[in-house]
Amino acid sequence: MSNPQVELHIEELGVITLELDADKAPKSTENFLAYVNKGHYDRTLFHRVIPGFMVQGGGFEPGMTQKSVGAPINNEANNGLKNHKYTVAMARTNDPHSATAQFFINVADNGFLNHTAPSVQGWGYAVFGKVVSGNDVVDKIAAVKTGQRGGHGDVPKDDVILTKAVAI
């Protein structure tokens, strides 16, 4: 079974193509594709950008309004995939199994985000794919100026808009 690919069209910056690992991260892949096909990611922001760390999106519309999401999915961080640079992983709250729609792309080898133990502290973040084209677009997102906005930190001063996400 070949791995599904998704294009993220970023306004004014270009296209990031993700290859999802349906084999090692089946639930996360299925969950992500469901949001893609529903159009959930269309016109969302990369709302949290930290150079040397990661760029995060999939949850907010321009204006920083949070979009409604579906049920949380199980954490698949114990699948052996590591948070290497340019991998994509599910974002979540402190509850290990709280991931819904938000995701982030690592812009460094973030080993400290890997699964170490099935505990609250050690669960880590589930990598479910990687960037196969558009590293330069990811880099451009990571380089934008950021600041505080409505109680959120590291928000791009000029909206970084994911205009549409398409399964190809």
């Binding site: 460094a108 973030n110 080993g111 985000l113 502290q121 100026k145 950021t146 590291d154």
Partner: protein, 266 residues
């Protein structure tokens, strides 16, 4: 009690495992971290805890916090993380110490300091230090957005590295190590017996005069070859031997514990 410094923790620098392992297994009843816990720290607000994925630094503070239930942790500013504030201390479960300060232990007075203030031969650094330890400068710096501060810190680091390269080839540069004369003055001013500091990454004991030793801590860069002469990830452990009468000084045993075997790390 254990004394360490110069962890220089930063995502991707690879010595976290040794440190976390040490935190989980130490039998000390107190831990003193004399500066440069972090490679860089641009202000407490740049590392929020209520976001996910968390910054690496937040994870480090939470690791410390978990240990702090077991043993009290004391942290001093270094030349890299002098902006560590009360929010970081609260998250990390530690108390911030002023630099320098005196610890009474085992009947002796120990002067604890990061060490950078004593390297008077490094005039370029001392000028920089004078500028950034100024509260007006810090207030202005912290008012800028976190992203701007991160850029500035990177720029400062680059300039520091360039200056260090220049120092190496400048024959007029006097010794860049801690000035022993000044160290002795500090000991006398604080009526202290021993000094413990880090910063120079040159672990050794220096006899300043009778009864006065300057003990230098190692750094924790496990990517630099660990040798007997220049160990990394070394913990200074002070143990007070039991003393029968409260008024007699007792003795303090000082051990340097090497966490890395000499057959180096990958």
């Amino acid at each position: 009690m254990d004394v360490v410094s110069d962890l220089h923790l930063q995502a991707g620098l690879g010595h976290v495992e040794v440190w976390v392992n040490y935190l989980n297994t130490t039998t000390a009843d107190a831990l003193f971290i004399l500066g440069d816990l972090f490679e860089v720290w641009v202000g407490d607000d740049a590392y929020p805890r209520n976001v996910s994925p968390q910054n690496f630094e937040v994870q480090c503070l939470e690791q410390l916090s978990a240990i702090s239930f077991r043993l009290p942790i004391f942290v001093m500013h270094g030349n890299r993380d002098f902006l560590l504030g009360s929010a970081a201390a609260a998250l990390g479960g530690f108390s911030l110490l002023t630099d320098p300060c005196v610890l009474s232990f085992g009947g002796q007075r120990w002067l604890l300091t990061h060490g950078d203030a004593l390297c008077t031969g490094d005039t370029a650094y001392q000028a920089f230090r004078h500028r950034v330890r100024n509260s007006a400068w810090q207030i202005e710096f912290l008012a800028q957005p976190a992203s701007v501060r991160r850029q500035a810190a990177q720029e400062m680091r680059k300039q520091s590295q360039e200056q260090q390269a220049k120092n190496k080839v400048d024959s007029s540069k006097t010794d860049l190590d801690v000035n022993n004369g000044l160290a002795m003055e500090w000991l006398q001013a604080f009526k202290a017996d021993m000094m413990i500091h880090g910063h120079t990454h040159r672990p050794a004991d220096h006899q300043l005069s009778a009864g006065h030793v300057r003990m230098v801590l190692s750094d924790w860069d496990v990517n630099i070859q660990n040798t007997a002469a220049s160990p990394r990830a070394q913990v200074l452990r002070l143990s007070a031997a039991a003393s029968s009468a409260p008024s007699s000084p007792g003795t303090v045993r000082v051990n340097r514990i090497n966490l890395l075997t000499s057959s180096a790390t990958p």
